[in-house]
């Protein structure tokens, strides 16, 4: 998969304009937050905590949208819906997809800020 799909390049260039020098800070903040969220999501699955799953997926979804990562955003949306409907059976599969997608987004973003 190319970076093009993991990140919306047009929206991202607007984001760079908005953030100017703080763009790197935004990226690292997003990455740090996301790592915490992924661990919350794993805990939620292990403990069968649908509420934690829903809330974490919800805010992960919002942040992903803001960082211009559409696939990650829509995967989080799926997870949120599952938590909402208390249907945790398919969650581990989706959680794996989220983790995989995050890894791609992370490396794409890091390459943008020259890491």
């Amino acid at each position: 998969m190319s970076d093009e799909k993991h990140l919306n390049q047009a929206a991202l260039s607007d984001l760079k304009d908005i953030m100017e020098d703080d763009f790197s800070l935004l990226v690292t903040t997003f990455i740090d937050d996301s790592i915490l969220r992924l661990s919350d999501l794993t805990n939620a699955v292990n403990n069968g905590d649908a509420d934690l799953l829903r809330e974490t997926a919800h805010s992960f979804k919002g942040s992903s949208g803001n960082i211009c990562a559409p696939i990650l955003e829509s995967l989080c949306n799926e997870l949120e819906s599952m938590g909402d409907g208390n249907q945790l059976e398919g969650v581990p599969v989706y959680l794996a997809k989220v983790q995989q997608e995050f890894t791609c987004v992370k490396s794409a973003l890091e390459s943008l800020i020259g890491k």
């Binding site: 740090d32 919800h58 805010s59 803001n66 960082i67």
Partner: protein, 574 residues
């Protein structure tokens, strides 16, 4: 960076990256940003920073955005603090929840800086409008308080002016709201030096201070001129020209005025713009209608103003009613007006003059429904009564202790121009009324002065023969001739000399009137007083009945009268 008015905006979001982004967007738009990461912190920062707008994430730890919004709205009281919810919620229910919690709008993630800018600008306009409204409202409250305070002051001042009068006398019944002056209604009554009772009911256009403003000069002119003995026409003329001068075009005073003469049993009436006045006859329970024949006061310039009055006879017990349009326009709960016809019915059905006023008041009040008393009801009834009875009942008390000088004399010459145009009596009476104890004899003094003056003018200066007046035809001729001679008068004078001496207990006033006429042989006066003055059957005998002495002097063109009274009880001394 755009040039906008910088606002202080609170961003509350638990997501660090989202908060960072939003902060950058908002700062780029030129606003100051303060941040919070959860609901409790949001409230802390709100309290401390007093932001203009809050961007509030819905789902946050410790306290969610819904609760934070409710608390902030409750704390802000009447101040307007726009709250925009930040959410990636898409379901209609959740959005409704944001608005129910007191949110004013919402912004969905991912953020769109153009839309956010538009929203912030829109709320900024609303904030400004809200501030303007608040300021205007506060201003209105302050103004209203001022106005009420001013009205109270004005009312106190007006009450002082208006209460100089004699509305309390027994033959005047009236109904007037305590705040009538702010409805534009004015009711004044005064006893003149001659003993006549002057009453004026006025209704200014408009309401509030604008309506009250004309009442002051009206009342002051009315009282001061009546006290000086001016006639009704002169007073109306003066009030009209004063009101015309001071009131703006479009503000005027509908008014009715009367002079009730208890001695002659007549009433002089002028009605300019009030509804028909009613003269109620006790003898046959009938009534006469006295319609308005003139424009209201303050409309016409003095040269166009007509103060022509109507003279009517009144017997004891007859009464004259004047009212403002409030009584005719009094409205019942169904929206009907009391109207002229109902008013007439009250007069036609009623059988006793003594209770008519109460009956009328009762009928109007029960018509409009007792609960909502109409403040615009201004009615006055003036009853003709016996002069002696009136004077006994309304002892014109003399509270003044000794004030004026005890010993003085003065001489006052009236020459042709003045004789033609001017009545000097009010001025002279004004001086005499300052003499201690004399005010309670004002009626008698007025009679004496006016008899002396008109004798000197008519029979002295104008050389008119009083015997002319004994026939009806001669009566008219007499007055024609009088006005002709007065108009053509080139020379002549009347000299009035007044001398006052007082000791500890008594006062003595000596008045001498000398005229330029040819006089008469005074040796006749002791023999035949009545023949001498038979023209009116009243002149000289009247003077003699009032004064301690009346004496013609010199060539018969000079007469001296003496009047003596006691200070202690104001009693006249024989």
């Amino acid at each position: 960076m755009d040039t906008v008015e910088p606002l202080k905006i609170l961003i509350a979001d638990d997501s660090n990256s989202d908060r960072l982004l939003l902060k950058a967007i908002v700062q780029n738009q030129g606003h100051e940003v303060v941040v919070a990461a959860d609901g409790l912190e949001t409230i802390e920062v709100y309290t401390r920073e007093k932001p203009d707008i809050i961007l509030l994430d819905a789902l946050m730890p410790r306290m969610d955005g819904f609760e934070a919004a409710e608390r902030i709205k409750a704390m802000s009281g009447e101040d307007f603090i726009p709250i925009i919810f930040l959410t990636s919620l898409k379901e209609a229910d959740s959005l409704a929840l944001c608005l129910e919690a007191g949110g004013d709008d919402f912004l969905t993630k991912p953020y769109n800086s153009v839309i956010l800018k538009a929203k912030i600008n829109a709320f900024n306009r609303m904030l400004k409008m809200h501030h303007t409204l608040q300021q205007q409202r506060d201003q209105i409250i302050v103004n209203n308080e001022h106005l009420i305070q001013e009205q109270e002051v004005a009312k106190r001042v007006f009450d002082k002016v208006a209460h100089a009068g004699c509305l309390h006398v027994k033959n005047i019944n009236y109904s007037l709201s305590p705040l009538a002056v702010f409805n534009g209604d004015v009711l004044l009554a005064a006893v003149k030096p001659s003993g006549k009772i002057a009453v004026l009911l006025g209704d200014f256009t408009g309401h509030g201070l604008a309506a009250a403003i004309g009442a002051m000069p009206l009342a002051q002119t009315f009282y001061s001129m009546n006290a000086k003995g001016f006639g009704m026409k002169e007073i109306l003329q003066e009030i009209n020209s004063k009101l015309k001068d001071i009131l703006p075009v479009g503000v005027f005073c509908c008014a009715g005025m009367m002079d009730l003469d208890l001695r002659e049993k007549t009433v002089e009436v002028w009605n300019g713009g009030l509804p028909d006045c009613f003269l109620y006859r006790q003898s046959d329970l009938s009534y006469e209608v006295l319609p308005s024949c003139h424009l209201p006061l303050g409309v016409l310039s003095p040269k166009d103003f007509s103060c022509e009055t109507q003279m009517l006879e009144m017997l004891d017990g007859d009464s004259l009613f004047m009212w403002s349009d409030g009584i005719i326009e009094a409205t019942n709960p169904a929206g009907e007006m009391f109207g002229e016809q109902r008013l007439k019915t009250v007069f036609e059905e009623h059988r006793s003059a003594e209770t008519l006023f109460k009956e009328l008041e009762g009928r109007v009040n029960s018509f409009i429904g007792g609960s909502q008393r109409d403040d615009d009801l201004s009615v006055v009834e003036v009853v003709m009564v016996d002069k002696e009875e009136f004077e006994v009942e309304n002892v014109l008390s003399n509270h003044k202790s000794y004030q004026g000088p005890m010993d003085w004399g003065m001489s006052y010459d009236v020459r042709p121009d003045t004789l033609r145009e001017f009545n000097p009596l009010p001025v002279l009476l004004q001086i005499l009324m300052d003499i201690p104890g004399l005010r309670s004899h004002s009626g008698e003094i007025y009679t004496v002065m006016s008899e002396l003056y008109s004798n000197a003018l008519d029979h002295g200066v104008l050389d008119l023969d009083s015997s002319m007046k004994s026939s009806t035809k001669g009566f008219a001729e007499y007055y024609q001739l009088r006005s002709k001679r007065l108009g053509e008068l080139q020379e002549g004078y009347i000299r009035i000399t007044m001398d006052y001496r007082g000791d500890d207990s008594n006062g003595l006033l000596t008045v001498t009137v000398q005229d330029s006429g040819k006089g008469f042989d005074i040796s006749m006066q002791t023999d035949n007083d009545y023949k001498l003055d038979g023209y009116s059957g009243r002149g000289l005998p009247l003077l003699k009945s009032i004064c301690n002495s009346v004496e013609y002097k010199g060539g018969g063109n000079e007469v001296e009268v003496k009047f003596q009274w006691s200070y202690n009880d104001s009693r006249k001394l024989a």
